[in-house]
């Protein structure tokens, strides 16, 4: 049976498959393509990969660093101990119909 890891991200539940890496001797998370197949929180915020290239709406989190990826954007809220997080930018939010 495939090994997976579950994350509860701001109300959304994600199941991330794991694969065993022989060189490092540990399980690695295999992230889905969040750009091709977007996943949203109940609030309509997209879930992203931390190292996704920064988009046109991004703003620097740290004035001394560049804006290269989601991880360096002030709208991004990273989940602990993984490389996924939530984009809190209003311009990227979708309207959720109840």
């Amino acid at each position: 049976m495939e090994k997976t890891k579950k994350y509860h991200v701001e109300g959304a539940t994600l199941t991330i498959p794991l694969r065993y890496d022989e060189t490092s001797g540990r399980y690695m998370e295999v992230y889905p393509d969040f750009i091709e197949n977007p996943i949203y929180t109940p609030e309509g915020h997209p879930i992203m990969l931390t190292l996704e290239d920064a988009c046109a709406f991004g703003e620097k989190k740290d004035a001394n660093e560049g804006l290269v990826d989601c991880g360096s954007c002030r709208f991004y809220r990273q989940v602990q101990n993984t490389l996924i997080g939530v984009c809190g930018c209003e311009k990227k939010r979708i309207n959720i119909v109840e």
């Binding site: 060189t23 540990r26 992230y31 990969l49 931390t50 920064a54 290269v68 990826d69 991880g71 990273q78």
Partner: protein
Amino acid sequence: MEYITVRDAAQKWNISERLVQKYCATGRIAGAKKFGTSWVIPAGAVKPKDPRKAQRAPAMRRERRQSVSYPGLMPLMNTAFEPGRCLEFIHDMADDPQKQIALAEYYYFSGQPEKAVRETELFLTGADRDIQLSACLIYAYANLSVGKIQRARYALTAVQEMLASVSEKQPEMRAALSFVSSAAAVLLHLPLPERLPPMQEFLPMLPMGIRMFALYVNAHYTYLQKEYQKSLGIVETTLGMQTEEYPIPSIYLHLVAVMDYMSLKQRDKAKQHLLAAWELAKPDDLIEGFGEHHGLLGGMLEAVIKPEYPEDFKRIIAITYRFSAGWRRIHNPDTGHDVADNLTTTEFAACMLAARGWTNQEIGDHMNISVNTVKWHITNAMQKLGIGSRQDLKNYMLL
């Protein structure tokens, strides 16, 4: 005796009257006499020399050193051979220790460290200091590649001890030792030896090929200080100065230029230098340098060499793994760093570029892989290293 006035002297020497008076007052014109407020000067007096020039000339003469012949010091590195005729040159050498050192150099630079170790073992001690120094340097690096770290340490320590014991009255020996010590330290990213004299003191004494390699070491050191433009200046000047092509130092100089240009995000220029290095290396299979520098070449080997020369690329990567394993074992006891542990070479190359602020799209374009593949490699690397952000990756890879 006939005398002339200050005005006459000024016209004759094409200087101001005020300066003539100054010369008279400071006693620089023999026979000048003062009458009241003015001076008279012997008609045959010679214009005094400019004191600034007079002082500078002997100082320059004192500092100039001539290059010294070091027949046993890395003879292959110090030879301008035609690419493709490296082995021919070695076979034509007289059967003596120099030939064996040249052969050991060939083995080392063509990625055959076991053979290089065998060739140099006999010369680690001996009367000929140049041969011994060359043997120590090759032996240290070759053992690093075959995983015999204690032996590598032994050879490096022997060089340090020689440097510490040599007298300042032996400038030729100090020059050779300084070259070997700095090469050993800088290329392994170790601190420079405390007793290392300034480079300008020993560089002029080294023969052309060795001097070029010493300048490569200097450019590499400057690169590590993140002074990429300065490093490029050293490389371009050194390459431009050579009157004949010295393949081994030239390959290494071009590789540093690739590192510098990739750090400055100038891919086209980096590619030009990589191809120039490859053109010199390929005919004699001198591929060791490519493997040693892989991590700093910013994916350029994957982008340029891998598609056209897949078999050579595989061998280069094998050198990289072997060399970096030894490199880490040299470093671990002192720094605790295990930067590249468990990373594949592709993961390492992608991470180096990501750490330098390249986007996934830019990395993908450069390495001829898709953006998703870039993300795959970087997420794998970040998980292996236990890193959660690109900023942490930068700290880990570059600091």
